[in-house]
């Protein structure tokens, strides 16, 4: 990764008539500060510039105690550069949507506005994303979490059950218009659109695809609610689909049923303890979550991680990657009617969890990777277990692949279904296996190696077609590559310490940094703000699955209801990570 040239960025923005101050922030990169009113011009200028910062990695906010900083994280794939655009919004001001420049902003903007109490202008679907009506803007510094007394006295919380069931009656209609909406008054900004139930739901017309309507029978559209209790939505995802007969006209994903405030709680945890929260974020790939946070902390602390610790991180990470892909592989079989596959792959997952438990002490919530290194060395029994696993897993993989990937029925069902084009994937901010299935080879392990990944010999599986079958091919290929990495790890594990010498209470200097890892679902980034105390000032968790879900919403349009389950399943979304 290179840093963009500050003078070039400044001249490009000034050429477009944007007043900007460009500075190079230590440990982060180049940051452009612009006025809120000229954010759109700046983003358009950067997108159409020859350096083409056309990929929006992330969009989030930060409460500086004086105002809200909105951060647009942009990337240029052609030059492998990252750029941050920041705009300072006063409290309760209006954020102008940039979704038509970067569709990836659709969900993050809604989240930003509800969690920081901003209003929104020009968003096609300005509803609350994660919380329900009446919730305060949690991520503001003035909103506090429960005190220890409140927590200890569980009886203090009284829930009126009758009110709950009453509230459920209106769940088919969206619970609440965003604070953005209800509080918005027709101001100088041109009058925010009226919001709420009268608003046509779902995505803007530009993305909406009309059904084929071959027989020219005019039918009434139905709203079908799928989830959050549905056996195939892979968690508490609720899909609100507008259907015409069997065809899906448009889809809206309703999320937030698992919103637990990981970003907020991290602000009250010590740096060593945030790992426990990260584990529970994306709960099937805990090691990657911990690693992302540990890398960010280490960048601020400027700690050199011992080589053995990095290798152990890679080893555990790849074991975890297989375990995570298996949780996707089995249910994809269930979605398409292959029950047997679930039983076969979960046999393999049990032996994987045995290994992980042997090393870390837990089956799921490892809390193994800490800032500075890892928490324990590899055990001798684990080494034997890993070798035994590797000996059988390749054969099992062949068998499993025959059951599903080589199955003619499965191929007929999935090939050409839910086609994601590379343009669409990049526009929506999709990363990871979903992006690689469209032919874009982008893997942080290869392209921006972290944690000694450059010392390993492996390939990045890429498929061309972007359909459900291609996504399956990519993930199955990744599992095979992971076994290669594990084998190299176990054969050549370097001697040395498994953790660097770090103080018991970590106090990184005040600053800001971004660290990303290639989790099984894509680029999992941690944007960390510190103020010199022993806990983060603000932690932004970039959820790769949320961006995949945004793209998935549009993929379903134009398809059949029966295919919705398969398409959504193949995107590999984990709701714990999306809702945080």
């Amino acid at each position: 990764m290179q840093q963009p040239d500050t003078t070039a960025v400044r001249s490009a923005l000034e050429h477009a008539g944007v007043t900007v101050s460009v500075e190079e922030v230590e440990r982060l990169g180049v940051v452009c500060r612009v006025e809120p009113a000229s954010v759109r011009d700046a983003l358009i200028a950067l997108r159409d510039w020859e350096h083409s910062f056309d990929f929006q990695v992330d969009l989030f906010g930060e409460d500086t105690r004086e105002a809200i900083d909105v951060v647009y994280h942009l990337r240029s794939f052609s030059r492998d550069e990252d750029l941050f655009v920041k705009a300072t919004h006063p409290y309760d001001s209006v954020l102008t949507s940039v979704w038509d420049i970067h569709p990836a902003a659709l969900m993050p903007e809604r989240e930003l506005c509800e969690l920081f109490g901003l209003r929104i202008l020009g968003h096609p679907n300005p509803k609350r994303l994660l919380t329900t009506d009446g919730c305060p803007p949690y991520l503001r510094k003035e909103v506090s979490i429960r005190t220890p007394e409140e927590v200890r006295d569980r009886a203090s919380q009284v829930v009126n059950v009758a009110e709950l069931t009453g509230a459920f009656g209106s769940i088919a209609a969206e619970p609440a218009p965003a604070p953005a909406a209800s509080a918005a008054s027709a101001g100088a900004e041109g009058g925010p659109a009226p919001l709420g139930e009268s608003q046509p739901l779902l995505l803007p017309d530009a993305i909406k695809r009309a059904p084929s309507g071959v027989d020219h029978v005019s039918t009434e559209h139905l709203i079908l609610s799928m989830g959050p209790q549905h056996p195939s939505t892979h968690g508490v995802l609720r899909l609100k689909m507008e259907i015409d007969g069997e065809e899906v006209v448009s889809t809206e994903a309703v999320i937030g049923h698992l919103h637990r405030g990981i970003e907020k709680l991290a602000e009250s945890r010590r740096f060593n303890a945030v790992g426990t929260l990260m584990d529970r974020g994306d709960y099937v790939s805990g090691i990657h979550n911990e690693l992302a946070f540990a890398l960010a902390t280490e960048q601020l602390l400027e700690v050199d991680v011992p080589r053995r610790a990095s290798w152990l991180r890679v080893l555990l990470g790849e074991l975890n990657r297989i375990a995570s892909h298996i949780t996707w592989y089995g249910p994809v079989g269930l979605d398409t009617g292959v029950m047997g596959l679930f039983l076969y792959v979960f046999r393999d997952r049990e032996s994987l969890l045995d290994i992980l438990e042997d090393i870390t002490g837990q089956r799921m919530m490892f809390n193994y990777v800490r800032p500075g290194g890892v928490v324990a060395d590899i055990t001798t029994t684990a080494e034997a277990k890993i070798r035994a696993f590797l000996d059988t897993f390749d054969t099992y993989m062949d068998e499993n692949e025959e059951i599903i990937m080589g199955n003619e029925i499965f191929q007929a069902r999935t090939q050409g279904l839910g086609v994601l084009t590379p343009e669409m994937a990049l526009a929506f901010g999709v990363t990871g296996g979903n992006l690689r299935s469209t032919g874009v080879s982008w893997d942080l392990r290869k392209d921006r190696p972290y944690s000694c990944y450059d010392e390993f010999d492996f390939q990045v599986p890429v498929a061309e077609t972007g359909d459900v079958y291609a996504r399956c091919q990519v993930r199955v290929g990744e599992m095979r590559q992971s076994t290669r990495i594990i084998r190299q790890c176990i054969d050549g594990l370097p001697e040395g310490e498994f953790t660097a010498k770090v103080p018991r209470v970590l106090r990184p200097p005040a600053g800001e940094t971004y660290a990303a890892v290639e989790s099984p679902r894509g680029e999992l980034g941690i944007h960390l703000f510190t103020d010199g105390s022993d806990s983060p000032y603000r932690m932004r968790y970039r959820p790769p699955a949320m961006y995949a879900l945004q793209a998935g919403e549009t993929l379903l349009a134009g398809g059949l209801i029966a295919d919705a389950v398969v398409v959504m399943g193949s995107m590999d979304v984990v709701l714990g990570e999306i809702d945080r």
Partner: protein
């Protein structure tokens, strides 16, 4: 009225026939496939997977609450989720049981400080068995189900005691 003495809730016919049904109930506790968070991987997927094999205990998943006996609340319940959990519970036919799995469902777990999280699912639905752990191992879930079976077994004694108390 007279018939109630023979078939009512405190009659010998009712209590003894329920005792028979209880045998059937505890041998086939079908749970609802409803995983909220992390615990669902351990408690629903791994427990019914090949190693732990929940089926041998007569525990099997049903996709619809209408066909289920047990609801495993496997994850954090927040304000957005609470009405749905309650509605699913209301949709289940009697007799129904709730297993609160994991720290989050029992007390709010590591997220109990966040005001959006409900401190324990027992605020919303009555809970029969609490399984501690974060997440509990599949063995713990199976042990929890065995406790639930014991509880169902003890229902006859409770009914008899209630009948005796009523008769006095």
């Amino acid at each position: 009225m007279a018939l109630d003495r023979f078939t009512g809730e405190h009659s010998a016919i009712f209590i003894r026939s329920e005792q028979l049904f209880d045998v059937a109930r505890r041998k086939s506790l079908w749970y609802m496939a409803f995983g909220i968070a992390c615990c669902s991987i351990e408690g629903l997927m791994h427990a019914s997977g090949p190693r732990f094999d929940f089926d041998r205990m007569g525990v099997f998943f049903r996709a619809s609450p209408r066909q289920a006996d047990v609801m495993i609340v496997a994850g954090t319940v927040n304000w957005k989720m609470a009405p749905i959990v309650r509605r699913l519970y209301d949709e289940m036919p009697d007799p129904r049981y709730v297993v609160s799995m994991g720290a989050c469902a029992c007390t709010g777990g590591p997220f109990r400080e966040y005001p959006n999280v409900i401190m324990g699912v027992d605020k919303i639905v009555p809970v029969d068995v609490y399984i501690p752990g974060c997440p509990p191992r599949p063995e713990s879930v199976q042990y929890g189900f065995m406790q639930l079976m014991e509880k169902i077994k003890g229902q006859t004694e409770e009914r008899l005691a209630a009948a005796r108390h009523d008769g006095r």
